[in-house]
């Protein structure tokens, strides 16, 4: 598999098309929104996290962007929502680990058992210019969770 095919795996292109969690869920109960933008390419996302106390019920989003950013939002939404109710601190740990791996310039891998489909984004870490695309939704979730505390 060439480098490009490694980056654009079928799973990624598929998530980019399916966009799991896209369309904001109604803001019932406790929820927080965050809008995040990549100034370089203009990609943007509005992400909504709905919680029950310190557990996350689901993550939904709306946005525009490249296939990496769309796939990543889709994968994040699927990962969190499938594990719901997910403790917020576990979500934070997931985000931290994701960031570390993506910033590793190809030296670290995302564990499939932990990150499920999102583990396919491992290859992005070799493309420093694309790390921001893959991080967009994750940063938005981090900010939305922080807003809940603020």
């Amino acid at each position: 598999m060439g480098d490009l095919d490694q980056l654009y795996q079928e799973l990624i292109l598929d998530h980019a098309r399916r966009r799991v969690g896209s369309g904001l869920a109604p803001a019932e109960g406790l929820s927080a929104d965050h809008h995040e933008r990549n100034p370089v390419c203009g990609d943007e996302i509005t992400l909504r996290v709905r919680v029950d106390g310190d557990r996350i019920r689901d993550v939904s989003w709306e946005g525009e962007g490249c296939s990496i950013s769309q796939a990543s939002a889709s994968m994040l939404s699927q990962l969190v929502t499938e594990r719901a109710p997910l403790p917020r601190n576990e979500a934070s740990a997931l985000i931290d680990g994701f960031r570390t791996a993506l910033r590793s310039r190809g030296t670290m891998e995302l564990d499939e058992d932990v990150y499920e489909d999102a583990a396919a984004l491992t290859g992005v870490s070799k493309y420093t210019a694309r790390v921001k695309c893959a991080m967009l939704a994750w940063v938005a979730l981090e900010a939305a969770l922080a807003a809940l505390d603020g």
């Binding site: 480098d3 390419c41 203009g42």
Partner: protein
């Protein structure tokens, strides 16, 4: 065009550019991002190197031999670069680049009281942020109003709208000679006539014309103009603000410090005449020397020949891209142009297109190219921009067209 394109020996030109001979992911580099920054010929690199290892010293400051040599080289460079744009040496202010030049212009115009509350500043819808935000800021500092000239769907400036936007309240009309997204040469004569008709200052962003067309700034009649060295085969960190003698003399300095003063007390400072008044602090001397060599290189190629060759590349690129299903060009007017196309691919985000091209060694730029308002006007938030330089071959254009043709298939969008 009367000059035949054959006057440029492309193999010889390409041999002059060391950066072109690298590989990307195992493919030979196809550099189509010259509008962002151009590669430099060996002679420019050598000129900087010779300076740095030979005459490296601060200028206009010392009696020692190195300083005298450096000063001579620096002022010779000014004369050379000024000559390249048809100007006298005193009309050329060195800056760190076009952005610094345009900001200096905007701050100086404001500080001189040439724009005040209720006045109007006019820009076009197609400006690079560097020729937009400084004017927004000037307007907000002074209480002036910023107005804009729209562009037609085909990318050309709406001159009749310009005639109604520009009024007796207009103090500044700022526009690009060539937009860095549309690649179309703007109707400078019309805009200058409209500006001067109401006594406004005409400011031209020459970043994308200086590397590609014969340029005669006094002949164009603009009052101020800006360009960057790194886009015209020269070093980074050097550019220029051109001005008419009268206007430069009327403008106060913006950044202040050493080497631009006559008498300084703890309370006040008196400033040298232009251009030195605008050149505070240690100047980028090796870069000025490098830029002078870059324009000599361009002069040796002959800017008429460069332009003729670019027209040919431009037509090849535009026709080729236009023929691809799902590719939409921004500003497809059959106007005078440089060899630059910005385009969107249906169903594939610009970033993904760029990545796909990069995997074939083709370097293009993706994003809004520092022209968000123009992108908003045309729709896509991000586009792909391919831009040629003096070293670009027909084969490289064909490789681009071929690759763009394969994009939608790869991403399942066709």
């Amino acid at each position: 065009m009367t000059i035949p394109t054959e006057t440029i020996d492309l193999a010889a030109v390409r041999a002059d550019f060391p950066a072109l001979h690298r590989e990307v992911d195992g493919c030979p580099l196809i550099y189509l991002d010259s509008a962002a920054t151009a590669q430099r010929p060996q002679s420019v690199i050598d000129a900087e190197l010779a300076f740095v290892t030979g005459a490296n010293a601060a200028v206009h400051r010392g009696a020692h031999t190195l300083a005298a040599e450096a000063t001579d080289l620096f002022e010779d460079a000014r004369a050379t670069v000024a000559g390249f744009v048809g100007a006298a040496p005193e009309q050329l202010v060195w800056t760190s680049g076009a952005t610094a030049a345009l900001n200096t212009a905007a701050y100086a115009i404001g500080a001189a009281g040439l724009v005040r509350e209720g006045d109007e500043v006019v820009v076009t819808e197609a400006e690079h942020h560097a020729n937009l935000i400084p004017w927004q800021q000037l307007a907000s500092r002074t209480g002036a109003v910023l107005r804009h000239i729209p562009v037609h769907e085909d990318g050309t400036i709406d001159v009749s709208a310009a005639a109604s936007v520009i009024s007796s309240r207009t103090r500044v009309v700022a526009f690009a000679h060539v937009s860095n997204v549309l690649g179309i040469v703007n109707p400078v004569a019309d805009l200058v006539a409209l500006a001067h008709g109401v006594g406004a200052i005409a400011v031209m962003d020459a970043c994308q014309s200086a590397p590609h067309l014969p340029l005669d700034l006094p002949g164009l009649g603009v009052d101020l103009a800006a360009f960057s060295g790194h886009k015209m085969l020269g070093p980074n960190g050097i550019g220029a603000l051109y001005g008419t003698a009268e206007l430069l003399d009327a403008l106060p300095p913006v950044f202040t410090g050493g080497s631009m003063v006559t008498t300084v007390t703890l309370e006040t400072a008196e400033f040298l005449p232009a251009p030195h008044r605008f050149e505070a602090g240690t100047q980028p001397v090796s870069q000025a020397v490098g830029l002078a060599e870059a324009v000599r290189y361009l002069d040796r190629l002959d800017m008429g020949a460069v332009h003729a060759r670019e027209r040919m590349l431009e037509q090849r690129m535009r026709e080729g891209l236009r023929g691809i299903d799902g590719v939409r060009l921004l500003g497809d007017a059959d106007a005078e142009r440089i060899a630059l196309c910005a385009f969107a691919v249906d169903g594939v985000h610009a970033h993904d297109v760029g990545q796909f091209l990069d995997a074939r060694g083709i370097a293009v730029r993706v994003g809004h190219h520092c022209a968000q308002p123009l992108h908003r006007r045309f729709g896509p938030a991000a586009t792909v921009r391919a831009s040629a330089g003096v070293y670009t071959t027909e084969d490289e254009i064909d490789a681009l067209i071929d690759a763009v043709g394969a994009v939608r298939g790869y991403f399942g969008a066709a």
